[in-house]
């Protein structure tokens, strides 16, 4: 089984070695991440879970190359990360579609920057639009779309460039519960197809267990990896699975682990 998976996707191995980050504010050092050490296999769906303020976004931004570490390094397929690149697609919580461009124009941005011809751009983008049910809305502007549709467009905008890693920072946190569940299933659907490595940041325990192959639970002060937990629920997953005993036991286990950290971060204010 495992061998088969490794063969399926050869790119997208993420290695994080001794990664630390400090921010300096008014002459004082604020240590946000300390000695992060983790390895994510190609094609794996990894979830970063932790209370708000523990440094999840910071860690993801380091992998994206938006910020630089104080110590340590990140590699993707043995290449050290020094700056942002199209090999790492990023999906923000607030969709971040350009308001003056249509769905289609937003999604083709990366392809256009890379200089792909118009016919090949159209073919690729339309294929993805169909896949996520947005073809009808290809000429709509973001303000004409619901939150769920905007987030689908923003996911496709990253995926259309065939990144080796998809980085997602609480992408469904702003959606209502119904839409969120549908988006989770849709994301898994696409991922089963593409087997792109995913690093998914969330503070929602249920979401992390439902989506992930592996959970990295983060602790606070300074941010560190507190526990690593493989999720061996069978795939493809459906929303009924969240009601299984296995799921509920996992939920309880993770909840206890996170609770301590949440209390700590609340005490610190």
């Amino acid at each position: 089984m495992l061998m088969q998976q490794v063969e399926q996707s050869v790119k997208g191995a993420v290695q994080i070695e001794g990664l630390s980050v400090s921010f300096h504010r008014q002459g004082r050092e604020n240590r946000v991440l300390e000695e992060i050490q983790l390895g994510i296999r190609p094609g794996e769906f990894a979830c970063l879970l932790g209370p708000s303020g523990c440094g999840k976004s910071t860690l993801l931004n380091l992998v994206a190359g938006f910020i630089k570490p104080t110590a340590g390094y990140v590699t993707v397929d043995q290449q050290p990360i020094t700056r942002p690149g199209a090999d790492r697609g990023f999906v923000f919580q607030q969709y971040s579609l350009l308001p003056w461009k249509t769905t289609f124009q937003n999604i083709e941005l990366g392809l256009k920057i890379r200089g792909l011809s118009k016919p090949s751009r159209r073919e690729l983008v339309d294929d993805y639009l169909n896949r996520v049910g947005l073809y009808k809305h290809r000429n709509s502007y973001p303000y004409q779309l619901s939150g769920g549709m905007q987030q689908r467009a923003s996911i496709v905008r990253a995926l259309v460039n065939s990144p080796s890693v998809l980085l997602m920072d609480e992408p469904f946190a702003a959606l209502d519960a119904q839409t969120r569940h549908m988006m989770q299933e849709l994301l898994l659907d696409i991922w089963e197809d593409l087997k792109t490595t995913v690093i998914f940041v969330t503070h929602d325990i249920e979401e992390a267990i439902f989506l992930g192959d592996r959970l990295y639970i983060m602790g606070v002060q300074p941010g560190h990896i507190k526990a690593e937990l493989p999720i061996r629920l069978s795939r493809p997953r459906h929303f009924d699975d969240t009601l299984s005993t296995e799921f509920i036991n996992l939920h309880r286990q993770v909840f206890e682990c996170i609770r301590e950290e949440t209390l700590k971060s609340m005490e610190a204010g």
Partner: protein, 265 residues
């Protein structure tokens, strides 16, 4: 069928007009007309003398004699205003870019601009007439001085408020610095720029007319001044009317331009 019948009640038809495209110019035209009718009636009813407040009919009666002269001077004012406005647009956008993009410019130039903006520009006109003589130049400069501040400030605000996430998205798609500006910074600034142009054109207009009443021998401002000193109040009002019409036309032009260019808001 029933639906169309219901839509034909007077209230519904008014509601339709209120929300339709035509409503945006038909309704203001109706209120303008009502204002003139009320004005005419008031003047006749209270027998207000013409040299205090002429009736609209008396103002329009000046057209055969003075219409040509007013039109010629209105043209002068229009050209003056547009010259000042164009200069303001060029320098305003340039300064706005500097302030919006450079922290140094923001800390050095911006406070100076704010200080300068608090000076009432009318106070500068006598000085301008000493430096540049009586004529069109002081008017163009006054128009420019009044118009460039809102443009510079708005462009700076537009550039400074670009969401970092949008820029990050572009960078992570492999965009260069210039592409990030072209695809995010520039379009994001457009609504701010166009909003400021509506303000700036009105300001330029005010500036040129003020200067014309102080240091000029042409333009609508000059017409009003000389008509008043000759007690030709109906002519002064005709000139005022020309000003109002020009102001509305200029403002509407930039409003339409804004709607075309900033369609996503």
């Amino acid at each position: 069928m029933v639906l169309t019948e219901e839509l034909n009640t007077p209230q519904d038809r008014f509601g339709n007009l209120l929300n339709s495209k035509h409503g945006t110019y038909i309704l203001p035209l109706i209120t303008t007309l009502l204002l003139f009718i009320g004005w005419e009636l008031a003047v006749r009813l209270f027998s207000i003398p013409e040299f205090i407040l002429p009736a609209p009919s008396a103002i329009l009666a000046e057209i055969p004699q003075w219409g040509g002269a007013v039109a010629k001077n209105a043209w002068t004012t229009l050209v003056t205003t547009l010259l000042g406005f164009l200069a303001a647009l060029a320098l305003g956008v340039l300064l706005g870019f500097m302030i919006g993009y450079s922290k140094l410019a923001n800390l050095t130039i911006y406070p100076l601009l704010i200080g300068f903006n608090t000076i009432p520009k009318v106070a500068l006109v006598p000085l301008l007439s000493i430096w540049f003589g009586i004529g069109a130049v002081p008017a163009v400069i006054t128009a420019f001085l009044l118009a460039f501040f809102p443009i510079a400030v708005n462009v700076a605000i537009g550039l400074a408020t670009v969401e970092t996430e949008m820029q990050d998205v572009l960078v992570s798609l492999g965009a260069s610095r210039f592409e990030v500006f072209q695809k995010v910074g520039l379009p994001h600034t457009m609504p701010y720029l166009f909003a400021s142009l509506k303000v700036a054109i009105s300001q330029a207009f005010i500036g040129s007319v003020i200067a014309e009443t102080v240091a000029s021998n042409g333009g609508i401002g000059y017409v009003i001044l000389s008509a008043s000193s000759n007690f030709n109040v109906p002519l002064a009002f005709l000139a005022l009317l020309a000003l109002a019409v020009m102001g509305v036309i200029l403002y509407s032009f930039f409003m339409v331009l804004e709607k075309r260019f900033v369609h996503w808001i």
